[in-house]
Amino acid sequence: MPNTYDLISTNVLTSSATVITGTLPSAYTDIQIRASLKSARTASGIDGVEIYFNNDTTATGGRICLYNEDGANSKEIQAIGSSTGKQIGGVPTALLANELFSQTTVDLLNYLSNAKKIFYSYHSVQRTGGATRNIWRTAGVWDSTAPITSFTLRNFNNNFVAGSAVSIYGIKKA
């Protein structure tokens, strides 16, 4: 029977936070991070969210992002060498009390290897105060050969609200 992803942990914020960080266990071959996020900013729109690894905010990286807002196709590319190439999507603001949380999944395959790391994410969000929906599909590079031991999700503009949640899944080593 093939290996599959097991739930490692689920954490729900009981208080707001600007960044969410977690240390990854080493007993797995691949990791999947699933996050349900909303920004505390009380204005219409969306706020940016990005991911970085091992608390490294300066290493070069890059990404290609396919982005769609209500059928308007567009793409956004940030080349290797960009220090701002870590955005994976946006989170809805808290202008409306019952606004949706964004849904985010980040795949880290072979995250302990000594090769440079590619990560994939898929992300959907509805823009608060408007009718638009956004879908992001991102392939990014963290330009480092260090094993990934931790991750950080950061809200560009404000805090993540209490109730935001992060679950970690992993495929156990044989």
Binding site: I8, N11, S15, S16, A17, P25, A40
Partner: protein, 78 residues
């Protein structure tokens, strides 16, 4: 903590016992966050500026094509 007003908080999740601890950022982390936020805002402003310029150029091109006698349907078909 009041949501949205008290920035610079770190939520550290523990994958082993599902607990989360909260701490204020260090001065170094705050400086890092501020620099990243400014870079993000500059990038967003640049994106908006580029989109606005592109839309203006497109509108101007449509006007020129219309002045040449093309119909709206013909312009849209280009």
């Amino acid at each position: 903590m009041t949501e949205g007003t008290d920035l610079y908080t770190v939520a550290e999740i523990n994958c082993n016992d599902n607990t989360t601890t909260y701490r204020p950022m260090t001065d170094e982390e705050i400086a890092q966050m501020d620099a990243m936020r400014i870079a993000s805002e500059e990038k967003e402003a640049q994106r908006i500026q580029e989109e606005t310029a592109k839309a203006a150029a497109k509108a101007a091109a449509h006007e020129k094509l219309a002045a040449l006698g093309l119909s709206a349907d013909e312009i849209a078909a280009l």
